[in-house]
Amino acid sequence: MEHYNMNLTLKVWRQKNEKEKGHFETYSVPGISSEMSFLEMFDVLNERLINEGKEPIAFDHDCREGICGACSMHINGKAHGPWAGTTTCQLHMRAFKDGDTIVVEPWRANAFPVIKDLVTDRSALDRIIAAGGYISVNTGNAVDGNSLPVEKDKADTAFAAAACIGCGACVAACKNSSAMLFTGAKVSHLALLPQGNPERKTRVVNMIAQMDKEGFGSCTFTMECEAACPKEISVNNIARLNAEYMRAAFTAEETMG
């Protein structure tokens, strides 16, 4: 792989806190190596801002290996930037060329208020899980792991849904700020497994109610969420969510009142 250096122009959203109005600020960033990650480029810029006596740009990040779901930048109009199936932290600078201008914004959604600069509050996603995204099994209650065989295909599909990292890119990419892919992935993961069966109806109903309460929009199935998802979670999970919801609606006696 050939390495090269580049000079870039960055337009970054700066916002002091939730209440104050934000604005774009322009920075020229010279001498960026193609081997750097996108966040390492921000490290370089921030180090310079600190040396100049300015405040560095705040952004969420932690594992920097694409699995914790903390990083969350809207880059040139795309959640997590130009590479498919990639988080911001795994995006590398060889995706860009000398002279490029890069626009960086926070996730934009009513349910994700900005805390500072590129940092948003995504705790609404935790509350959707708390509404039912689990199997109610207390520690110590379990039977032997092999006493309940699971078809390999189903286990694999459940795993693919469970691979969601909760970053919120699906919401940020959606014109309606819908959280259907996030919620659908969790409902699918648990509905596909026999262990998840006892709470199948209440789970989907309660999670959707919480999703609506948090102010996420409706799904109009434009599938931008799947395109933006760094874990390439399939929109089939939204179809499954809808099917689970209908099933609960038509068969539940208590849950739907």
Partner: protein, 657 residues
């Protein structure tokens, strides 16, 4: 000598005896008892949810924006359990024995046996929660092997096992949050332990969004705050992983156990330049199928494909025929360093070795072709089917490698090099996971207890969940049973006042310095000292130099650090400055511990103590103990020792040949 309070009786009955004789707390009293849990990784989330289920009132804290992001999420390879589903001779005893041996005879028999005993229940619990472990076509659970063992006992979910286990624990935690048994404080950092009458009674936490300091009372405090590998700056830890919670406890009197025991993981993506902010692990499970080699000729600059079989050195297979590429991590790391130092390294930095999948692709290709009934398959067919199998097993790891390096590992062998990964050391705890401070517990990587001088692969997840799901629910009751008469202490108590004032003074001091160098820059400098002088190989002279340099760095930090922004706002620079200050102090203690331990054992390699073949040489006569350091004013430490007694296993020179 410290007393670890290991129950009397035969090794395999200690835990069951303990469980049937420890004190219990009745359900009505549990509702009155408050427990604080710091950290929401595998240990913290499993402890918080299990204690919530039991009826305790739990407050859980994490610095991340969600408990699901704790760094356990990044564990790749798997979790060990003595299920013997493969009928290959595994047992609780074998898992216990492998772990003791893998730890180079520097861990406690009692703790490790308990860990092996509860391992099977962990898998059952996780399956019940819906953790989608890998399965065979018959629907049963699949296993693979890991370093330092000769059986297949590792359960896994592709290369994302930590993620799936943590999501299982996180979901259980969120369920308890919904039920009101656990109150969750995200974006909060613990900055002080509050001590009243010699017992841990609460914490001072900082709300990282508003910058406000908060006081929280608890009848007990559980530190589940992970390891301290980031003291090296570059490590496989997350950027936010830090020692601060454990260090605050240490400075309030909790002993720090074996701080120098650091695990350097053999298979990580090599450093690419000065800008590097972290290192990425390539799971040890890759050593199952991949073969590690370097050129036979020094300074060979040919492409790997141009180097014929006869001119390659599969040095692990050569040196350790019995375990080959599956030797434990410390052994594999040192062997890679030895080859690179001797001039056989590859890649532009010459600080890398190859991890080659060509053979595995051929081998799996042949098996698949047989299944498909293709006789005499072509090279292309072999490759096609082989790549498919490798993709299914390790696809996410290969993708990650390609994103970072820009090279396709299905075509070109991966370049790997050792990197700091895990810390076996941590807060000293007794058998009940209680530190020497009553009411203060440490779980998971934050404690020192189960891995001795080297941790085996797929054992960190096992220990974190063992501590949280199956150990602490029993041992905490033994303490809290005597606390049922302690009513909640109001946080206006002078001890809370004093702790908050200390914290505030320190934050104001950090902000007031307004020097010229960023916290990040100090962190990098500390990391370089630690890696060069307290890394994969250590000697007395280097360690003494390191101590002097770190003291000077500490002095300079408190004179010249520059923290931007303000106190009462979201300010990651301030968070970072506090963590770096603690890392600097810890670095000094690690070097002291490494200097004091004149033997080599596990991941701690003292150049003065090696066999003729360059293997780690233990000194059981003089160092068969746990080092537990007590902090004293003025950065002096007093060494306490806990003798390690082996009743069942007979320590011997560890051999994987």
């Amino acid at each position: 000598m410290l007393d670890a309070k290991i129950p009397k009786g035969p090794l395999d009955q200690k835990w069951s005896t303990y469980k049937s004789t420890c004190k219990l707390v009745n359900p009505a009293n549990k509702r009155k008892l408050e427990v604080i849990v710091i950290g929401t990784g595998l240990a913290g989330a499993s402890a918080a949810s299990s204690l919530g289920e039991l009826g305790y009132k739990v407050k859980a804290f994490c610095f991340q924006d969600s408990p699901r992001r704790a760094h356990s999420i990044a564990a790749q390879g798997g979790i060990n359990a003595a299920k013997n589903y493969q009928n290959d001779g595994d047992s609780v005893y074998r898992l216990f024995y492998d772990t003791i041996k893998g730890g180079d005879y520097r861990s406690r028999e009692g703790n490790v046996h308990r860990l092996a005993e509860v391992s099977a229940s962990i898998i059952d619990q996780c399956v019940a929660q819906g953790v989608p472990f890998a399965r065979e076509y018959g629907g049963l659970l699949s296993n693979r092997s890991f370093g330092g063992t000769q059986v297949q006992r590792t359960f896994y979910a592709a290369g994302q096992t930590g993620q799936q286990l943590l999501i299982g624990a996180y979901q259980s935690l969120e369920r308890q949050v919904a039920l009101g048994n656990v109150k969750m404080y995200s974006r909060h950092e613990m900055l002080e332990i509050v001590m009243i009458d010699g017992k841990a009674r609460g914490i001072i936490a900082r709300n990282l969004v508003t910058g406000e300091l908060e006081r929280h009372f608890g009848h007990a405090v559980l530190l589940c705050s992970g390891g301290y590998g980031n003291v090296f700056y570059l490590s496989t830890n997350a950027m936010g992983s830090n020692v601060t919670a454990a260090w605050k406890a240490h400075k309030r009197g909790a002993y720090f156990g074996n701080p120098c025991f650091t695990q350097i993981h053999p298979t990580c993506i090599p450093v690419s330049g000065e800008h590097q902010s972290k290192l990425t692990l390539m799971s040890e499970s890759l050593r199952n199928d991949g073969r590690i080699w370097v050129p036979l000729k020094q300074n060979d600059t040919r492409r790997p494909s141009e180097i014929p079989e006869t001119e390659r050195d599969y040095y692990l297979e050569r040196r350790y025929p019995a375990f080959g590429n599956l030797v434990p991590r410390d052994v594999a790391s040192r062997a890679a360093k030895e080859r690179c130092d001797a001039g056989y390294g590859v890649g532009s930095s010459r600080q890398a070795v190859y991890l080659d999948y060509a053979f595995a692709i051929d081998r799996y290709g042949m098996i698949e072709c047989n299944k498909q009934g293709i006789n005499n398959p072509t090279k292309e067919q072999l490759r096609h089917y082989g790549v498919e199998v490798v993709k299914e097993k390790y696809g996410n790891l290969f993708d990650m490698y390609e994103k970072i390096t820009g090279e396709n590992p299905y075509e070109i062998p991966m370049r790997i090099y050792p990197a700091v990964h895990y810390t076996m050391g941590g807060l000293w705890v007794d058998y009940e996971l209680q530190t020497n401070i009553p009411g203060l517990y440490a779980l998971g990587e934050a404690n020192f207890s189960d891995h001795g001088a080297n941790r085996l692969g797929a054992s960190a997840l096992m220990q974190g969940l063992a501590d949280g799901y199956f150990v602490i629910p029993y041992t905490i009751g033994n303490y809290l049973a005597d606390e049922i008469r302690t009513t909640n202490i109001p946080t206006s108590h002078p001890a809370f006042e004093e702790a908050e004032k200390n914290t505030r003074d320190r934050i104001e001091k950090l902000m007031s310095i307004q020097g010229t160098e960023s916290p990040e820059s100090f962190h990098k400098r500390l990391g370089k000292i630690m890696w060069d002088k307290c890394g994969m190989a250590r000697n007395a002279q280097g360690l003494q130099e390191a101590i002097t340099e770190i003291r000077a760095l500490r002095e300079e930090f408190w004179r010249n650090v520059k923290v931007t922004g303000a106190i009462n706002e979201f300010n990651p620079e301030l968070d970072k400055a506090g963590r770096v200050a603690d890392f600097i102090e810890l670095g000094e203690l690690m070097c002291m511990d490494a200097l004091n331990r004149k033997e080599s054992c596990g991941g701690h390699f003292r150049e003065e103590s090696q066999t003729e073949e360059g293997e780690a040489l233990r000194d059981d006569d003089n160092f068969m103990f746990v080092s537990a350091w007590e902090f004293k004013e003025g950065y002096n430490w007093e060494l306490h020792k806990e003798a390690l007694e082996y009743e069942v296993v007979h320590p011997s020179q560890r051999s994987y040949k």
